[in-house]
């Protein structure tokens, strides 16, 4: 059955079992994708998914249970499991459900006709052919893909809240592998949004250009040098340490920013913003995972930490208002705290100007192993990196197989200039990260 029917089944089951305070959270979607290899569609997929999370109050505690099996029989089992889980809960988490009748900011969202599967197939094949024609260095092992679909989130609770939001998305991707005869390197480029406006030319040119630029890379010298991070690299670093800005982590003693609201935590040129309606967000939901209205806010303004991010739970504990940042990492996960689209507000400098200011240093446009080489609690990081040397104020030879190491909280204070060029670096759905290029002092490169 669909979510609407399953909702009715849960309402009936809750009534039968004497549960009066509860909330259902649904997320799901449909997705069609085609990927091409050697002039053929090697893989075509169509997926339908969706799951429901029930939160309910039982024995004075909040219990969770989730399922993908939306059937009449499962509705009662879901309520029973949530009740049983509530009995074991020990945290002093109060049950707070948002009442109905909230006012949400109205924003225009992308509305376009989803492409037919045959159009996805054609597009993936076309990009494949464009890659082949783009440059003699592109190997036959290069891949391309096109996909489109819809995603929906919905929240229903016993206090009259009943909201839902659906977004359409499409994307194309080029993944060239290039060679100079001795070495093989790869890159990829994605474009997202309204399918009819996706720029094939751009993803092909940019991905091939990026891949070719990596050929013949050396290893930089070990030492402390100025670093310019590209939007992609800085966005990935922001994503890794974003939990520091969560009041939940702060309250659990897992954030170095606990108790620092009102203090200077970054250089004066740094303003960090969270915007649910960021122009390139693939899922600009007007409410958070508890149903509170979503809105734009500055987290850091000119270096000063204005606020952490809160949900109802953590706000109640801190004796303040929620910032509307309740979030779930998947439909089944516990309500936590996350930004919508978090980004460093662009500054006034072009990337060329940042390179000139750096003089001699390293330009980093790839950081890897963030799940392992970075510790969001201590802020320490040591990350595999790739990029270019900066010599005489310009990008020169490619470099790879080195690390950049430092501490995130030191990095925020070590930003000496912010670029004007913002890009969405990590597109994950509701939660995303964007950044301009930034110039940072005080980090160490380990190479040769």
């Amino acid at each position: 059955m669909n979510f609407e029917d399953f909702k009715k089944a849960v309402i009936a089951a809750a009534e039968k079992l004497g549960v009066t305070e509860y909330e259902l959270y649904y997320s799901g979607g449909e997705d069609v994708s085609a990927s091409a290899f050697r002039g053929e569609i090697n893989q075509f997929g169509s997926a339908v998914d969706g799951g429901v999370c029930l939160r309910c109050v039982h024995a004075g505690k909040l219990g969770y249970a989730s399922t993908e099996n939306l059937s009449a029989g499962e509705a009662e089992s879901l309520v029973r499991r949530a009740m049983s889980n509530a009995e074991t809960m020990e945290s002093d988490e109060a049950a707070v459900f948002v009442p109905g009748g909230q006012t949400y900011e109205a924003h225009e969202t992308a509305d376009f006709a989803l492409p037919e599967p045959s159009e996805l197939v054609k597009t993936a094949l076309e990009i494949q052919e464009m890659l082949r024609r783009e440059d003699g260095a592109v190997t036959e092992n290069s891949r391309s893909a096109a996909a489109a679909g819809t995603s929906t989130v919905a929240i229903f609770n016993s206090r009259g809240l009943d909201v839902s939001f659906t977004a359409k998305n499409a994307m194309i991707m080029a993944m060239p592998i290039v060679t100079d005869g001795t070495e093989m390197v790869n890159a990829y480029e994605v474009d997202r949004g309204d399918f009819s406006k996706l720029d094939r030319e751009k993803v092909v040119k940019k991905s091939v250009e990026n891949a070719k630029a990596k050929l013949g890379g050396g290893v930089p010298k070990t030492g402390a040098v100025p670093i310019v991070f590209s939007p992609d690299a800085m966005g990935a670093i922001l994503a890794t340490f974003a939990s520091s800005f969560s009041s939940e982590m702060a309250q659990k003693g897992l954030s170095a920013l606990a108790g620092k609201e009102g203090e200077v935590v970054a250089a004066p040129c740094v303003t960090l913003c969270d915007d649910p309606f960021y122009k390139d967000s693939p899922m600009p939901v007007p409410f958070d995972a508890e149903g509170s209205p979503a809105h734009k806010k500055n987290i850091i303004e000119n270096g000063k930490l204005l606020t952490l991010l809160y949900n109802l739970q953590t706000a109640a504990k801190a004796g303040r208002e929620t910032t509307g940042n309740a979030a779930k990492s998947g439909y089944a996960s516990k309500i936590g705290v996350q930004p919508f689209t978090m980004y460093i507000v662009p500054g006034e400098f072009s990337e060329e100007e940042l390179l000139r200011k750096a003089g001699e240093g390293v330009y980093i446009n790839m950081v890897g192993g963030l799940h392992a080489g970075a510790n969001p609690i201590s802020g320490d990081f040591s990350l595999q990196s790739g990029g270019f040397l900066i010599e005489g104020g310009r990008k020169t030879a490619p470099v790879k197989s080195f690390t950049v190491a430092g501490n995130f909280f030191g990095l925020l204070k070590g930003i000496t200039a912010v670029g004007a060029n913002i890009e969405l670096a990590e597109a994950r759905g509701i939660t995303n990260y964007a950044s301009p290029s930034v110039l940072v002092e005080g980090l160490t490169v380990a190479g040769k």
């Binding site: 053929e40 997929g45 988490e93 891949r143 390197v185 790869n186 089944a332 595999q384 190491a405």
Partner: protein, 459 residues
């Protein structure tokens, strides 16, 4: 789950447009976890994953479709969608299904989904409390008790109709310690393809103490210096070096597409002669073990590299077609919602003959990586990274002060040539490996090894 008769009709629909192979993968999984913060149960996650994925192949083309509706009508709709995406041909194969019973080489004595929350919370509590009580430097402890009851059914036009029940249990403790304003973390995360009998030989108190000891040691440590140096990597999770530097590049998902540093190198010497590496999905009760893979092929033990020579890749049926090679029982997927591909199971460098004390004594100035964190790799270039969670400097052949914040980077094809000493005491560590077919449990392992020179990312 789904009767054989229904599977036959659904497969017939799936091949109705000319596919030469079709497969149904259906699952019903209960994921359960209890999280503890500061000694209190903070969250209980309890999730039923249920659905089916249908795949059809024709030559080197494949179509996959997934559905959450596993009634016969729902499956037939899903099969029809896959068939119509494949093309316009007509049915060319006949469906004959035989039930296969592969037996269970990983018997479970105490099924976790039948154990009440309190019992699991008590195990978790004893681990978390042990961590908290280890030292007054420990500032916070979080822990998770995780159990998974993963029931799968595979029916394919190869004639396979098989089911497997994959149960696993894991205890994870993270400790945060603070010394003079410096905060560091420590972790311990043992897991088995077992039920609660896992705790007959894994003491939760030791798990907690391990995490706390590491956090306190690291909070008192200085930064690791940067540079190129010899590194001794300890057994257990240290095996992540092979997993990242080499393992991923031996998966058919990269090799079949020529997107691997090791494509076309079968029979060649790719590693130091000291290196013999094995992927073994049949180790009873091990975290990465399976009875059958997600295409219904029984688990195998494969020698990937023997004394430096590349012997085989890890292969699934679909990518095997492109390579002209048979499946090695390596097809895995996180759930029905992912398209399966070749993945690792329990992958390790086999024990060698060097004594541990000789390995340490051989290093004049270098790093002893006692415990590794996770890592990642680009299989095309072989460039990898991984984190050192607990490291110590080695000077004049002796282990000295602890150092923090180190990571190791390099190129896989280069680093496996440089593994020039291999110890005798192989042990394995548990991880979740993420790739295109999702997040799956895998073991990594090795004895103590020496890498003669590698880039250490420090400050």
């Amino acid at each position: 789950m789904i009767p054989v008769e229904v599977c036959r009709r659904v497969l017939a629909k799936a091949v109705s447009t000319g596919a030469d192979y079709a497969e149904i993968f259906a699952e019903n999984t209960l994921n359960h976890s209890i999280e503890m913060v500061g000694g209190k149960v903070d969250a209980i996650n309890d999730n039923v994953i249920a659905g089916a994925g249908i795949r059809v192949y024709k030559g080197l083309r494949s179509v996959s479709a997934t559905t959450v509706d596993t009634t016969e009508a729902g499956l037939l709709r899903c099969a029809a969608a896959a068939a119509s995406a494949l093309g316009e041909g007509k049915a060319e194969i006949e469906i004959v299904l035989n039930e296969r019973l592969f037996g269970d080489i990983h018997p479970v004595r105490v099924v976790p989904s039948g154990v009440e929350n309190r019992t699991k919370a008590d195990i978790l509590r004893s681990a978390c409390c042990a961590a908290m009580e280890y030292s007054d430097k420990v500032r916070q402890v979080t822990g998770t008790f995780l159990d998974v009851d993963h029931n799968i059914l595979i029916a394919s036009t190869d004639g396979i109709y098989a089911q497997d029940r994959q149960i696993r249990t894991r205890l994870m403790v993270n400790a945060v310690a603070e010394i003079n304003g410096e905060t560091q973390t420590g972790a311990c995360r043992p897991g088995r393809r077992m039920g609660l009998e896992m705790f007959d030989f894994i003491d939760p108190v030791k798990v907690g103490v391990h995490a706390a000891r590491q956090a306190v040691t690291m909070a008192g440590a200085g930064y690791c210096p940067a540079g190129v140096m010899p590194v001794a990597i300890e057994n257990g999770f240290g095996g992540v070096i092979f997993h990242e530097a080499c393992g991923h590049s031996l998966e058919a998902s990269s090799v079949a597409y020529g997107a691997s540093q090791f494509a076309g190198k079968l029979g060649q010497t790719i590693a130091n002669p000291k290196v013999t590496a094995i992927d073994d999905g049949t180790i009873p009760g091990a975290w990465g073990s399976i009875n059958i893979d997600d295409e219904g092929t029984p688990a195998q033990r494969k020698v990937l590299i023997e004394k430096g020579v590349l012997k085989t890749y890890m292969i699934d049926k679909f990518n095997g077609r492109r390579m002209g090679m048979a499946s090695t029982g390596s097809s895995r997927r996180q759930s029905y919602a992912f398209t399966p591909t070749s993945r690792m199971t329990n992958t390790y460098i086999a024990a060698g003959e060097d004594r541990n004390e000789d390995i340490i004594a051989s290093i004049e100035y270098g790093l002893y990586a006692k415990e590794m964190g996770g890592g990642s790799v680009n299989p095309v270039t072989g460039e990898f990274n991984f984190a050192v969670n607990e490291g110590y400097m080695i000077r004049n052949g002796r282990i000295c002060e602890p150092v923090r914040g180190a990571s190791l980077v390099g190129k896989g094809s280069d680093v496996i040539q440089k593994i020039d000493m291999v110890g005798t005491d192989m042990d394995m560590g548990q991880g979740m490996c993420g790739s295109s077919s999702g997040s799956i449990p895998t073991n990594v392992g090795q004895p103590l090894i020496r890498v003669s020179s590698i880039t250490v990312g420090g400050r």
